[in-house]
C-alpha cells in the first residue's frame, strides 16, 4: 500500500506544447501489454475530448485512470471497447490495439470487441430481470454452450454475491441494494468470460464496506483479468492499482495524458507539477 503525499517531489519544468505527449506520460510498462491506446484523439461533434493519448495497459494488472471531473476518463475508457461508437457524432483519430490488433480496423466487429472487453458502469445498471437472467444474458447472446446454472453460480461466487442471493435467483435484480447491484453487474460482466474488464467509478454509489468488498474483488480478479478502473478516490487508486494514469483537461488541450507510472511511484514521486497538485488535492 502506498502512503500518500509524504515526500515533496523535485520541482519540474513547465509543460511542453500541447500536441506533444508529456514526458512523464511516455512511460511504458515492461510487461505484456493487453490493451494500448495509440495517439488517440476523440471529438464529440466539434468538441474535442481527448488529445493524442498513448497509454499501454499491462495484462493481468489493475490500471487506474485518475483526473478531475470532465477530463475525459470515461471517454477514454469507452474507447477501449468501442462503446463510443454508439454515440452519434463521435469521431476518433489514432487507434486502440488489443494484443496488437487494431480494434478499430474495418474487419473487426465491435460486438466481438465488447465480448472480450467487458464493462462495469458508474451507476449500477442491472436489467429489470431476475438475478439469474442478468448473469445469464451475456453468456446467452454469445452462444454459451456449457451449463448455464453452473456458470451463473460461478460468476456470482466470484463477484462475492452468491451467499446473499443464492436462495432467490428469481428475484429482480432491481430489488437488490446498490452495492449488491454493482456486484451483480460485475458478475454479469464475468459471465462473458472477458479478457479485460473496464470499470468506470464502480464504487462511487457504494458505502465504505461495499467499496472494500469490490476492491478486494478487483485484486482477486486481477489474477485472471486485466482491469482498468476510473476512480476519483486517490486512496482507492493507491490501494487497488498497479499502475496509474493521470489525465487533465486545460484551456488549450482537452483530455491529455499528463503522467503514467507505477502507482507507488506516481503517488510518491510525481514527475509533473500538475500531477502533484492533483493528488495533493490542490485542484480538480
Amino acid at each position: 500500500m502506498t502512503e500518500l503525499g509524504i515526500r515533496a517531489p523535485a520541482p519540474h519544468p513547465a509543460p511542453e506544447a500541447a500536441e506533444h505527449p508529456q514526458p512523464a506520460a511516455r512511460f511504458r510498462p515492461k510487461e505484456e501489454i493487453a490493451l494500448e491506446a495509440v495517439n488517440l484523439s476523440l471529438w464529440y461533434g466539434k468538441k474535442r475530448a481527448l488529445t493524442n493519448v498513448s497509454l499501454a495497459i499491462p495484462k493481468n494488472r489493475v490500471t487506474a485512470l485518475i483526473g478531475p471531473s470532465g477530463c475525459g476518463k470515461s471517454t477514454l475508457l469507452r474507447c477501449f471497447n468501442r462503446m463510443n461508437d454508439l454515440i452519434p457524432g463521435v469521431r476518433i483519430e489514432g487507434t486502440v490495439r488489443y494484443h496488437g490488433v487494431d480494434i478499430y480496423a474495418k474487419n473487426v466487429d465491435p460486438v466481438e470487441v465488447r465480448r472480450r472487453i467487458g464493462m462495469v458502469f458508474q451507476k449500477p445498471n442491472p436489467f429489470p430481470k431476475s438475478i439469474y437472467e442478468n448473469v445469464a444474458f451475456g453468456a446467452r447472446v454469445n452462444g454459451y454452450r456449457g451449463n448455464l446454472d453452473e456458470l451463473v453460480e460461478r460468476c456470482l461466487r466470484r463477484a462475492a454475491l452468491w451467499d446473499e442471493v443464492k436462495d432467490d435467483l428469481k428475484k429482480s435484480g432491481l430489488a437488490l441494494s446498490g452495492g449488491q447491484q454493482q456486484r451483480l453487474c460485475i458478475a454479469r460482466a464475468l459471465a462473458n468470460d472477458p479478457d479485460v474488464i473496464l470499470m468506470d467509478e464502480p464504487c462511487s454509489a457504494l458505502d465504505p464496506i461495499a467499496t472494500l468488498k469490490i476492491e478486494d474483488l478487483m485484486r482477486e480478479l486481477a489474477e485472471q483479468y486485466t482491469i482498468v478502473i476510473v476512480t476519483h478516490n486517490m486512496q482507492q487508486a493507491a490501494r487497488v492499482s498497479d499502475y496509474t494514469a493521470f489525465l487533465l483537461t486545460d484551456e488549450r488541450t482537452p483530455g491529455q495524458l499528463i503522467e503514467y507510472a507505477p502507482t507507488q511511484e506516481l503517488f510518491t514521486h510525481p514527475k509533473d507539477r500538475r500531477t502533484e497538485d492533483y493528488i495533493r488535492g490542490r485542484f480538480g
Binding site: 462503446m83 452519434p88 445498471n125 444474458f137 451475456g138 447472446v141 454469445n142 460482466a189
Partner: protein
C-alpha cells in the same frame, strides 16, 4: 406569518409567503378537479343517454340478426362481423409494419436530414383527414390492386390511416427505455437486434400497446374512408373471407340514425352500445397482455 415553528431571524433574505403559495396550490387543485369533473360528466351523460335509449332494444335478437327495414327486426350481425374482420386485418398489417418502422427509425437509421424529413412527414401524415386516405385506398387498393370493395381493401386503407399513430407511439416508447439498459446490453457483446429483442421491446411493450390501443380505437370508429372505398350500408350477410364485401358498425349506426322511423334511433343507440362494448373489450385485452408481460419482464 403564522408559522407554527416560530420566527427565524436569520432568514430575512427569503419571503416564504406560505399563505399565497398555499392559495395558488388550492386554485390549481380546484381547476384540475373541475376539468376532470366536466370530462367525466360529459362521458357519463353520453353513456346514460345512449344506454337508456338502447334499453329494450339491445338484446340477443339485435346481435344475431341482419339489418331490416323494420326496427324490431333490425340487427347488427353483419356490422359486428364486418368490424371484427376489418379490425383484425387492419392490425395484422399496421402493427408489424408500424413497430418495425419505428424500430428502424429509432435504433438503426443514421441521424441526418433524411431521418428528420421522414420524421416530420410521419407527424404530418397523422394529421391528414381520413377521407384523403379513403380516396387513396379507392385508387390504390380497390382499382389498381383490384381488391374490390372488400374487407381487405378497407383494412389496408385503415392500416395506412393508423400507421403514423403506431410509429410515433412506438418511437416514444423506445425512447423511454433508459440509456443505461442499452449500454449494459451492448457492453455485454449483444448485437443491435439482440438488444432490441431482449431489452428494448419488453421494456417498451406497455407503451407500444398503449399506442396500438389508441390506433385501434381510432380505426374502429372511422366511417368516412370506408364509405369512400365503397363499404356497404345494407348487408344481409357476413363476410366469409377477406375478399368479401362488408359493412362496419359506425356506418351501420349512421345509416340507422338517418332513417325516418323514430324507432331506428333506439336501434342506433343499441349499435353504439355494442361498438363501445367491443372497444372496451379490445382495450381490456391489451391491458391484460400488458400486465402479464410486465410481470414476466
Amino acid at each position: 406569518m403564522a408559522a407554527g415553528l416560530g420566527r427565524l431571524e436569520r432568514t430575512q433574505a427569503y419571503r416564504p409567503r406560505l399563505g399565497i403559495r398555499r392559495a395558488y396550490n388550492a386554485v390549481a387543485t380546484g381547476i384540475g378537479l373541475v376539468a376532470i369533473a366536466i370530462g367525466l360528466a360529459m362521458l357519463a351523460w353520453l353513456l346514460i343517454e345512449t344506454g337508456l335509449k338502447a334499453v329494450g332494444w339491445l338484446d340477443w335478437q339485435f346481435i344475431t340478426s341482419f339489418d331490416s327495414r323494420f326496427p324490431e327486426r333490425a340487427g347488427a350481425k353483419a356490422a359486428i362481423y364486418g368490424t371484427a374482420w376489418v379490425m383484425a386485418f387492419t392490425l395484422l398489417f399496421s402493427l408489424p409494419i408500424g413497430v418495425m418502422a419505428a424500430i428502424y427509425l429509432e435504433e438503426y437509421a443514421p441521424e441526418g436530414w433524411l431521418k428528420g424529413f421522414i420524421q416530420i412527414n410521419i407527424a404530418n401524415l397523422a394529421s391528414v383527414p381520413s377521407i384523403i386516405y379513403g380516396l387513396l385506398g379507392l385508387q390504390v387498393f380497390v382499382r389498381w390492386m383490384e381488391l374490390g370493395r372488400s374487407v381487405l381493401a378497407g383494412a389496408l386503407t385503415l392500416a395506412l390511416l393508423v400507421l403514423p399513430i403506431i410509429v410515433v407511439a412506438t418511437q416514444e416508447a423506445l425512447r423511454s427505455v433508459p440509456p443505461s439498459i442499452r449500454d449494459a446490453s451492448y457492453a455485454l457483446g449483444a448485437t443491435r437486434w439482440q438488444t432490441i429483442r431482449h431489452h428494448l421491446l419488453p421494456y417498451a411493450l406497455p407503451g407500444i400497446l398503449t399506442g396500438n390501443i389508441l390506433a385501434a380505437s381510432r380505426a374502429i370508429g372511422e366511417s368516412a374512408p370506408l364509405i369512400t372505398i365503397g363499404a356497404l350500408t345494407y348487408v344481409p350477410f357476413t363476410p366469409q373471407g377477406p375478399l368479401d364485401r362488408f359493412t362496419v358498425l359506425p356506418i351501420q349506426i349512421f345509416n340507422w340514425t338517418s332513417r325516418a322511423q323514430a324507432d331506428f334511433q333506439h336501434v342506433a343507440a343499441a349499435g353504439i352500445v355494442v361498438l363501445l362494448g367491443i372497444l372496451l373489450l379490445m382495450n381490456s385485452g391489451a391491458i391484460l397482455i400488458r400486465e402479464l408481460m410486465r410481470r414476466r419482464y
